[in-house]
């Protein structure tokens, strides 16, 4: 067994234990918040380290793989973790108790994500997902004094438990028919035995699996939880859910479709197209009337899941590269937005769009970050979101030559983009030219958060203006998937 492959996971678990130990020596909550800074720093170091290593191999009898795809997503998760941790440190003033536990739980959720990136076996997939999801139950309902947080926690608990049930049932059915839980073996068996692909029980199992993972993506028809949970959860948790949890769904779907059940996935593009179209429509249209920022971002995250599913529906190498690129852009955009929302909502007591009034005077940097995040999410150049959406649209249109329905999907997506412009620009409007700005006191933010905001801006610009590096890494990461390339 190659224990060295798990270095990143070990490091994060070790860091979590370190935080627990440090907590023993802290007696006041100010000190405890400083632990967050220490943890952010250590996590940043781990994240930086992950960009230097290129390990390859597998462990636990092939259940755990370390390949370019896994490494790409591990870097993604670590980067998300660092930003979320910094935001949490700023946000932790709201917690009366359990400040350091909040950091610890986030680190555990992060560990679950790191394992999920490497899962090549249904057992590891389920355990990693549960590690993440169970931790999120607590993280979502962390503000015990607030009814909205508790409500969100309960909703998440019930719905996520249901999706886990779908998932485990699907796994059982797939195992029952194919006789294996290993992705590689499953792929080989499906390839060797074509009757297996048509098996109804296996299909049902795959469908349940898809639903279980679509829940993490917040895709139609298992998207109901997203707005409520996004609204009620503490904002750093929301940010972590939006970027991290979604990416877990993405990486597992990619692995399932590209490696384990490729033969099966080939026949399911119609389903994916319908789900993608409905997800985009639901997310964009429901976001329109929202006044609560976190809720609006919840619906916009559903719409983003729809764009990601378009990439899946394309079933091509360029589609999967587009997915990865879109996720990379999404990371900086959505985390930048939530970082600002976390601070503003903290001040105003509510995450209403009106709370943004006068932000351009209260803190220009935050105003600029939020504006750029919205512009990027809307998919407008020169920011990251534009190039991500461009790649996705292109990959889908490429398939239109083979199958005309792809054109309709693009039509729906264009409609979604236009609608989304309205609610994204609404936010920009509130930031810059809203009239009712009663409170104009400047908002001070800590320097780590300031650097993080700059990093988000930098990331959005970098991915929008100089895509080559990340594109190459995304292409390398998805090269091992069995998706057809155009050439």
């Amino acid at each position: 067994m190659n224990a060295g492959l798990l270095l990143l996971e070990y490091a994060v678990i070790g860091l979590a234990l370190l935080v627990v130990a440090l907590d023993l020596f802290c007696h006041d909550s100010d000190r405890r918040r400083q632990i967050g800074l220490v943890a952010s720093g250590c996590l940043a170091a781990i994240c930086a380290y992950s960009f230097l290593i290129h390990p390859e191999g597998s462990a636990f009898g092939g259940a755990y793989v370390m390949d370019p795809l896994a490494l790409w997503f591990k870097r993604f998760f670590l980067l998300t973790g660092v930003i979320v941790m910094v935001v949490s440190t700023e946000y932790a003033k709201q917690f009366e108790t359990g400040v350091s536990e909040y950091y610890v739980l986030q680190l555990f959720a992060l560990t679950g994500m790191l394992f999920a990136a490497s899962a090549n076996h249904f057992m590891l997939l389920f355990v990693a997902l549960e590690l993440m999801t169970v931790t999120f139950y607590v993280l979502v309902g962390y503000m015990r004094q607030r009814v909205s947080s508790l409500e969100a926690g309960v909703k998440y608990l019930v719905l996520a438990a249901m999706s886990s049930a779908f998932l485990i049932y699907g796994i059982a059915l797939v195992y029952g028919v194919s006789g294996t839980m290993d992705f590689t073996q499953l792929g080989n068996r499906l390839q060797a035995d074509h009757d297996l692909t048509g098996n109804v029980v296996l299909r049902l199992g795959m469908l349940l699996l898809f639903l279980g993972l679509a829940f993490k993506l917040a895709a139609f028809p298992v998207q109901i939880w997203a707005p409520d949970v996004y609204e009620g959860a503490p904002t750093p948790t929301t940010a972590f859910l939006a970027a991290g949890s979604k990416a877990v769904g993405v990486v597992l779907l990619l692995r399932l479709m590209g490696q384990a059940a490729y033969e099966f996935a080939l026949g399911s593009e119609k389903l994916l197209m319908i789900v993608a179209g409905l997800t985009i429509l639901y997310g964009s249209l429901c976001a329109l009337p929202q006044r609560n920022l976190k809720r609006m971002l919840g619906y916009s995250s559903i719409a983003s899941a729809g764009y990601l599913l378009m990439g899946f529906a394309a079933m091509s190498a360029s589609g999967s590269v587009a997915i990865l690129y879109y996720m990379a852009g999404y990371l900086f955009s959505v985390l930048g937005a939530f970082a600002v929302v976390a601070v503003v909502a903290n001040r105003a007591g509510a995450a209403d769009v009106g709370a943004l009034a006068g932000l351009s005077r209260r803190n220009p940097l935050m105003a600029a970050t939020l504006t750029m995040a919205m512009v990027s999410l809307a998919g407008i150049p020169p920011l990251a979101g534009f190039f991500g959406k461009f790649l996705i649209f292109k990959s889908v249109l490429e398939q239109g030559v083979n199958y005309g329905a792809y054109y309709y999907l693009v039509g729906v997506a264009i409609f979604g983009v236009i609608v989304s412009l309205y609610y994204y620009f609404n936010v920009i409007r509130a930031v810059y030219w809203s009239k009712d700005s009663a409170d104009l006191t400047p908002i001070e933010i800590s320097s780590p958060l300031r650097y993080t905001l700059w990093a988000c801006i930098g990331g959005m610009l970098w991915l929008g203006l100089y895509p080559q590096v990340v594109l190459k890494s995304a292409a390398a990461a998805t090269a091992l998937l069995k998706l057809p390339s155009l050439n």
């Binding site: 249109l397 490429e398 983009v417 309205y422 920009i428 030219w433 080559q468």
Partner: protein, 523 residues
């Protein structure tokens, strides 16, 4: 550095330079913006002067190309490719001049100056970038880059109680147009199978191996309507008067003058040369729709009581002539369309600049409230009159040259439409422009305007520059037409070899009955 890249990179770099300047140092921010646009304008003029001597690569001068993204594995190659020929040369030079003029006239901005100048410079960089790019991806990229600041600027610094409505209207219309065009552009890319967005390569490919007629019929309207919405093609024009009436002066100048021409440029540069059969099929429709611009918007302009709405509608009406020139697909008509694009850019910038100044000084643009202003404001009044006269198509200005060539060139293909266009240009245009001159500049002056002061030097310089440019174009049209003609000839020739039979401009007799049909029908 390549001259063309410098022209649009200077404003963009200046935008970055402004970021660290403290917002209290207003003059510093403004100075950087003025310097950048001035340098850009000087570079633009240098480009114009050096154009004839430069050597062309594939028909484009000052050509520069480098890889931006290259992933052959998934069939994605995007190159940064810039170059000018006769068609975009004038647009680029006009863009740099208008940009400088707009920056000069931005002195009216009194809040969030820092954000304003950053957005203004990004917008300018995007506009100029779009016109020098020879890669379809960057063409679109820069156009969108310029659009976003437009929306935000109208929202923040715009005027009037309806500016939210105006902002959203212009945002949604233009985004819709841009996305429809984007779908068409990506389909062009996929049709070629070349795995490149390079305009030169794609045009060459489609001229050597014409696209299937069915695909042309599908993609051409996508581009025509997508680009058409961007240029306020009737009946998708309603965003334009509303948007411009509420926009800050510089934004209206830059958008109406320069950025809007992007759609026309795209039609001429991308859609027609690559899809001649689709063009044959659809340009007849375009000619009919442009009548909506010329006639309908002209009549709407006549009814306006607000100076800004009048100018906005007349600007939409003028665009109709450019459409007509392009639809004619004759050497004279298309050359005229290009000249008119440039002339209209100067004119729109001039009129919006002057009316914006009036609005800022008087707080209103209602025509009924004005009167006799020429006595109080000799400078502004004189130039407003000059601009209005140029708008009527008075000889001596660039617009006359352009409109004359367009009407001359389109007579063969669309005699009836051209006839109506001439009538409406002379009569309707004359009516509303002359009436506006009478109501605003002559007659009794209201007491309240006694305290008005004439324009200061910051306003005089840009107004004079724009007017001189218009006059130069009108008096020495060959300065431009000689540069434009060879490249238009290439495009016109390519549409004829591309399987389309168009009547030659010299064919003497032609039944008027067929006049409404597409040129193909004469075959």
């Amino acid at each position: 550095m390549n001259l063309l890249s410098a022209i649009f990179l200077v404003p963009l770099l200046a935008a970055v330079l402004i970021v660290p300047i403290p917002r209290t140092i207003r003059w510093g921010i403004r100075l950087v913006a003025l310097m950048a646009t001035f340098v850009s304008m000087v570079l633009g003029l240098a480009l114009f002067v050096k154009f004839d001597a430069a050597t062309a690569v594939n028909g484009f001068k000052f050509d520069y190309m480098t890889d931006w993204v290259s992933l052959p594995g998934i069939g994605l190659t995007i190159a940064y490719h810039v170059g000018v020929d006769g068609i975009n040369l004038g647009l680029v030079v006009m863009g740099t001049i208008v940009a400088f003029a707009a920056t000069c006239l931005s002195k009216e901005i009194d809040r969030f100056e820092k954000e304003y100048y950053i957005l203004l410079l990004i917008m300018i960089g995007g506009i100029l970038g779009a016109f020098v790019s020879l890669d379809i991806f960057f063409l679109y990229f820069f156009h969108e880059l310029a659009l976003v600041p437009t929306f935000i600027m109208i929202g923040i610094w715009g005027r009037g109680p309806d500016r939210n409505h105006a902002t959203f209207k212009i945002t949604l219309y233009l985004s819709l147009g841009a996305l429809i065009a984007l779908a068409g552009l990506v389909m062009l890319y996929l049709q070629s199978g070349l795995k490149t967005f390079d305009l030169v390569a794609l045009t060459g490919h489609f001229q050597a191996h014409p696209m299937g007629e069915a695909s042309q019929r599908l993609i051409f309207p996508l581009l025509m309507f997508g680009f058409g919405i961007l240029v306020s093609l009737w009946p998708f024009h309603t965003w334009a008067p509303t948007g411009y009436a509420h926009a800050p002066t510089a934004t209206a100048m830059l958008h109406a003058g320069v950025l809007k021409k992007f759609g026309l440029y795209g039609l001429l540069r991308i859609a027609i040369p690559m899809m001649p059969a689709g063009a044959a099929e659809w340009l007849g429709v375009l000619a009919l729709l442009c009548l909506g611009n010329i006639l309908y918007c002209g009549l709407v302009a006549m009814k306006q009581r607000d100076l800004n709405f009048l100018i906005g509608n007349s600007s939409v009406a003028h665009v109709g002539f450019i459409f007509l020139g392009i639809a004619s697909l004759s050497l004279v008509g298309v050359t005229g369309a290009v000249v008119l694009m440039i002339a209209h850019g100067f004119l729109a910038a001039l009129t919006f600049g002057l009316s914006g100044w009036l609005r800022q000084q008087t707080g209103t643009t209602e025509i009924a409230k004005f009167g006799g202003l020429l006595r109080q404001l000799p400078f502004v009044g004189t130039f407003l009159m000059i601009a209005m006269m140029a708008g009527c198509g008075l000889p001596g200005f660039g617009n006359f040259v352009g409109e004359f060539m367009v009407l001359f060139g389109s007579w063969q293909a669309y005699p009836v439409i051209t006839g109506i266009a001439i009538w409406s240009a002379l009569v309707i245009g004359g009516v509303y422009m002359l009436r506006a001159i009478r109501d605003v500049l002559h007659g009794q002056m209201d007491e309240q305007w006694k305290s008005l002061r004439d324009a200061d030097v910051f306003r005089r310089v840009p107004v004079v520059i724009l007017t001189v440019s218009l006059l130069l174009m009108g008096i020495f049209p060959r300065l431009l037409t000689d540069k434009i003609k060879p490249d238009v000839a290439r495009i016109v020739a390519s549409t004829k070899t591309g399987g389309m039979a168009k009547p030659t401009p010299s064919s003497p007799t032609k039944p008027v009955v067929n006049s409404h049909e597409v040129p193909k029908a004469h075959h």
